[in-house]
């Protein structure tokens, strides 16, 4: 079962309590080519309401760290607590359930379901976790799409809109169940600069409204938009700068 999680409001009331607590996190991949350490003894606290960027060169372990924090992958060693929930103790199915209720994810390649309209894509997480009464979900999805500037495209399939619009829709989907934490893995990596700017503006707006944001990027200028920057190299956090 998914343990109770801090709501966004609770997180705002106690900003000193870290929302994300990572201790001694290691991830070792055993491949035919040999043993590879993607993460080496990483520890990290992220208070609620912080906008954190994770930067580093390709293969430095930043995406692996995000995969651990989102519960998409399991560490070899260490612990991860998000809002008091010990992620390591949850199985794959329960982690999915937990994510749906407490976490919004934005991927580099948008990952919208191609057979659902943008509005339905946004409604999907609400259906999966039973968020809001059934009849209120379409209106909330539309409101979120309006917030990202896509109200007019609500009935379009993902293939009918641009990459930037798809990513905005993905952000709207990430907000569907009003999670306190938003995790984005290279959210602008596949966008032109105007679209990338639009997405980052959205993130800044969400940050102002109290959301905790963890964003992986390889672009230093994008990282500057956060208020904290973690720099990774060779599976370790080598710099932790408040901006």
């Amino acid at each position: 079962m998914v343990e109770p999680m801090l709501s966004a409001a609770q997180a705002e009331r106690s900003p000193a309590e870290p929302l994300i607590v990572v201790r001694g996190l290691s991830k070792i991949y055993e491949t035919a080519a040999g043993v590879f350490s993607a993460l080496r003894d990483v520890s990290l606290d992220v208070p609620a309401g912080q906008f954190v960027s994770v930067v580093g060169r390709s293969g430095c372990g930043k995406s692996t760290l995000v995969n651990m924090i989102t519960g998409l992958d399991r560490p070899t060693a260490g612990t991860i607590h998000i809002g008091g929930v010990d992620l390591i103790r949850l199985n794959e199915s329960d982690r999915s359930r937990w994510r749906g209720a407490h976490l919004g994810i934005v991927f580099q390649f948008f990952q919208l379901l191609p057979m659902l309209t943008l509005q339905q894509n946004v409604m999907l997480p609400m259906d999966l976790v039973g968020y809001l009464p059934l009849e209120e979900r379409p209106a909330r999805a539309l409101a979120l799409l309006e917030r990202v500037g896509l109200a007019d495209e609500a009935d379009q399939l993902p293939s009918g809109v641009s990459g930037g619009q798809q990513q905005c829709a993905a952000v709207a989907r990430a907000l569907a169940t009003d999670p306190p934490l938003l995790v984005a893995d290279e959210p602008t990596g596949n966008l032109d600069s105007a679209s990338a700017d639009r997405v980052l503006t959205l993130f800044a707006d969400l940050h102002r409204r109290g959301k905790t944001i963890l964003m992986v990027t390889h672009d230093p200028t994008m990282a500057q938009r956060a208020d904290r920057r973690l720099t990774m190299n060779d599976g370790r956090i080598v710099a932790d700068d408040l901006l």
């Binding site: 998409l72 992958d73 990952q111 057979m115 659902l116 009935d155």
Partner: protein, 800 residues
């Protein structure tokens, strides 16, 4: 040549690394090859073995029943021009006692040297090939029915009530026993010298002959039969019945040919299903290979080279499937052949359970290699046509439309439908071609299944309709004529007996204008007010109490003699009395094209000189189930025997219906095996489709996982898709089942009964298939659903 090693390694890699996919493709191909092997193996082996073993037994071309004659006449006839061999026979009706104490009728066939005769040669099965005097050579079916083996001693009750102990010297097979061998009286063979010991005349009363010259020329055989009859009549003997048979035409050949025709048709359908399944699977395989095709092209691979790689892969799948399917197909073919051979009483030339038929193997090889390669050609050509840029881009499988379809819009408005079900609904229709092929296989499999069960119901109905003419609970045949008043009084004293009717019966000769015998018919004489006959009169009327020399005839009369109709007069010879009879009605009666007529009992008895007497009684009991009928039959037998009345046979009325229903049931079982095969093809197709869908949508499943879909959601989404396809196919199956039901029913009915059966739809056939299709769809979905639920988000999205 530069590509030979990587090509081989790629093919091996595809085969070994993707074991589930390899299994799916190999199963898709193998199931079709098994079906082809099963049908072709039966098709090529059974009729040949049947015809050859029948011809090898030197079957009689002519059978005549006449006044008693001796061996001298047989020898004289054998010397006639155009006569090959001749043999005299005498039938003696006795009863044999089972271990349970029950008496069963037994037909003893006495010949000069049983087991050594030149005509209707018997195939020794066990024990002695020839019985000595006062010994039995038991027909194999009789041995099975009676539960008797070689060396056993059995008690025989003779017509006059005396009993004899006889040893079973051997068991032999009469390959020409035909329909009589299936539902008729059990038979055994004795020497002619045994006849006096059995209190029977040692003269013959049946003559069997082969013709010299062409034994497959019906005209020639008929001419020889005419000559022999002429010779017999000139010797002062009357011929009571005649029948002619071609040497190479087994008595049950029409039935077997019709059934194999049905099986062949099913085989073609299974082949079609199998090829659609293969096309489906390989199309999906090629879709998955798009990126690899792009990479191969990127590094210089020409389209023809890439096509060869995939054709090689398909060839490897096909050879693997062939290796697995050939022995299984041979095993199924041998099971079906053995089952059929047991029914029709024919030996198989190669009884090994894995005996391979060369033509069947050749067909399997052609189909097993040809169909997959041909089916794969289009998907491979389409798959390799793609440009490098498109193949390597990530949006190859993306939807090309910008807006959802009208149907999708309507579904969206149905807010009560959970989003997950909506996704399942949308997913179902995403690959329309694949869906159509999957539906086609399931619909056809279901329609055949329903059709076979409907045909069974119709044929059982047909058997029951035959029972309308045999409504008695107990058929009581006495060994001689008795006063009907005496028999009735004694029978009514037996507990459980409610009513009894005395019937008459006779074999009548149908004569032409010159008085020559042209056919033999059975004339049955129930009392005019009999409650035991519920005729289906198709023309004219049924018999009235005041009718004299009036007949109702079965439809076989009109088929054989189209000039005859209601009002026509036919000249009959009944026990030497030649008289004109008027046909007053035609009734529907099913029975191997034999001529059957009904006449009033009182008039027929008078013609036979048996007024007030009868040996044939029909009994009504209080309870009408088989067990009660058997109990009353045994009680009647015992009571009448105690009173000095000699019983030839007392048999439960439902026995005939039971044995015929059982016979139909065996045929239906064979057809159901084929229906099960088609259903298996359908379910494998569905499982394959769902697996392919899951494989193609792994990324979407991963995304759903990432945004909150737990195991239950993923599993229910895939199972819902499977169930939806299953239910859609059910609707199609019910519609397609109608013509299939009609076709199957009529083909089988005509081959067994010689006439059509009433079209019948059995609700249980639809219910069973609905249950099965839901079960199969659930099972077929379960594995793909579980593998979908096992997908972790990281694995699915890793390639990004």
């Amino acid at each position: 040549m530069i590509y030979s090693r990587p090509t081989t390694r790629k093919v091996l890699g595809e085969l070994l690394q993707h074991k589930s996919r390899t299994l799916l493709v190999v199963l898709s191909i193998a199931v079709g090859i098994v079906a082809i092997g099963a049908i072709a193996g039966t098709f090529f082996v059974l009729p040949t073995d049947m015809t050859q073993s029948y011809a090898a037994s030197n079957p009689a071309n002519i059978t005549l029943v006449t006044d008693p004659f001796d061996q001298q006449l047989v020898d004289d006839l054998a010397n006639m021009r155009d006569v090959g061999e001749a043999q005299g026979q005498r039938d003696v009706q006795v009863r044999v006692q089972l271990a349970s104490g029950e008496w069963r009728p037994l037909r003893l066939i006495a010949v000069q040297e049983p087991g050594a005769g030149e005509i209707n040669q018997l195939l020794p099965q066990s024990g002695a090939a020839q019985p000595r005097d006062r010994e039995l050579l038991l027909a194999n079916k009789a041995a099975d029915h009676l539960g008797v083996g070689v060396g056993d001693r059995v008690t025989i009750e003779l017509g006059d009530g005396a009993t004899r102990q006889m040893r079973v010297a051997g068991i032999a097979m009469d390959v020409g026993s035909g329909f009589e061998g299936i539902v008729g009286t059990d038979a055994a063979y004795v020497t002619r010298e045994t006849l006096p010991w059995l209190h029977a005349s040692d003269s013959y009363n049946r003559l069997v002959l082969t013709v010299a010259g062409d034994a497959d020329d019906a005209v020639h055989i008929r001419a020889v039969a005419d000559k022999v009859i002429d010779r017999l009549e000139r010797s002062g003997r009357q011929v009571y019945s005649r029948s002619e048979q071609l040497r190479s035409k087994h008595p049950l050949q029409n039935i077997i040919t019709a059934l194999l025709g049905v099986l062949g048709l099913l085989g073609v359908l299974v082949l079609f299903l199998s090829s659609t399944l293969i096309t489906n699977t390989l199309s999906a395989l090629m879709a998955q290979q798009t990126r690899q095709v792009g990479i191969m092209k990127l590094v210089g691979g020409r389209r023809s080279q890439i096509e060869r790689v995939y054709l090689l892969l398909v060839g490897a799948y096909a050879i693997t499937a062939l290796a697995l399917a050939v022995p299984v197909g041979a095993w199924v073919a041998n099971r079906i052949s053995r089952l059929a051979a047991e029914i029709i009483n024919c030996p198989l030339s190669n009884p090994s359970p894995l005996a391979l038929s060369a033509p069947a193997l050749a067909l399997q090889t052609i189909v097993g290699l040809g169909v997959p390669l041909l089916s794969a050609l289009r998907p491979i050509r389409r798959g390799t046509r793609i440009s490098v840029r498109r193949a390597l881009s990530s949006d190859v499988s993306a939807a090309i439309t910008a807006r959802p379809s009208r149907l999708a819009h309507r579904l969206d408005r149905a807010a009560w439908i959970p989003r997950v079900l909506l996704i399942a609904l949308r997913n179902t229709f995403r690959q329309k071609r694949r869906l159509a092929l999957t539906l086609a296989t399931l619909i056809l499999g279901g329609a055949i299944f329903i059709g076979v069960l409907n045909a069974q119901a119709a044929l059982n109905g047909k058997v029951e309709s035959i029972g309308r003419y045999f409504g008695a609970d107990v058929n009581l045949d006495l060994a001689q004529l008795y006063r009907t008043t005496r028999v009735s009084a004694e029978a009514l004293a037996v507990p459980g007996v409610e009513a009894i009717e005395a019937w008459s019966s006779a074999k009548a000769g149908l004569l032409d204008e010159r008085g020559n015998l042209i056919a033999t018919l059975s004339v049955l004489g129930p009392p005019a007010d009999s409650a035991l006959v519920e005729p289906v009169v198709t023309n004219g009327r049924w018999l009235r109490p005041d009718d004299r020399a009036a007949l109702t005839v079965n439809e076989a009369f009109l088929r054989r003699y189209p000039d005859l109709d209601v009002g026509s007069t036919v000249r009959l010879d009944i026990a030497g009395a030649r008289e004109d009879w008027t046909i007053v009605g035609v009734f529907e009666f099913t029975g191997m094209d034999e001529l059957v007529a009904y006449a009033n009992q009182s008039y027929l008895a008078r013609v036979l000189g048996q007024s007030g007497q009868s040996a044939l009684y029909r009994v009504v009991t209080r309870a009408h189930d088989l067990a009660s009928q058997r109990a009353v039959a045994a009680a009647l037998d015992a009571h009448l025997s105690d009173r000095g009345l000699r019983v030839a046979n007392a048999e439960a009325g439902l026995s005939f219906v039971e044995s015929t229903t059982e016979y139909v049931g065996i045929l239906i079982t064979v057809l159901l095996i084929m229906a099960a095969l088609t259903a298996a093809v359908g379910s494998i197709g569905l499982a394959g489709t769902l697996s392919m869908n899951v494989l193609e949508r792994s990324r979407e499943i991963g995304v759903m996982r990432a945004i909150g879909a737990h195991d239950g959601v993923i599993v229910s989404m895939v199972v819902a898709e499977g169930l939806l396809i299953g239910l859609m196919s059910f609707i199609g199956s019910t519609l397609l089942a109608l013509p299939i039901t009609y076709g199957l029913t009529q083909i089988i009915s005509r081959s067994i009964f010689g006439s059509d059966a009433a079209f019948s739809l059995a609700p249980h056939s639809f219910g069973i298939w609905l249950g099965l299709v839901v079960l199969l769809a659930s099972l077929a979905s379960l594995v793909p659903a579980k593998s979908a639920a096992r997908l972790t988000v990281r694995e699915v999205l890793a390639y990004e």
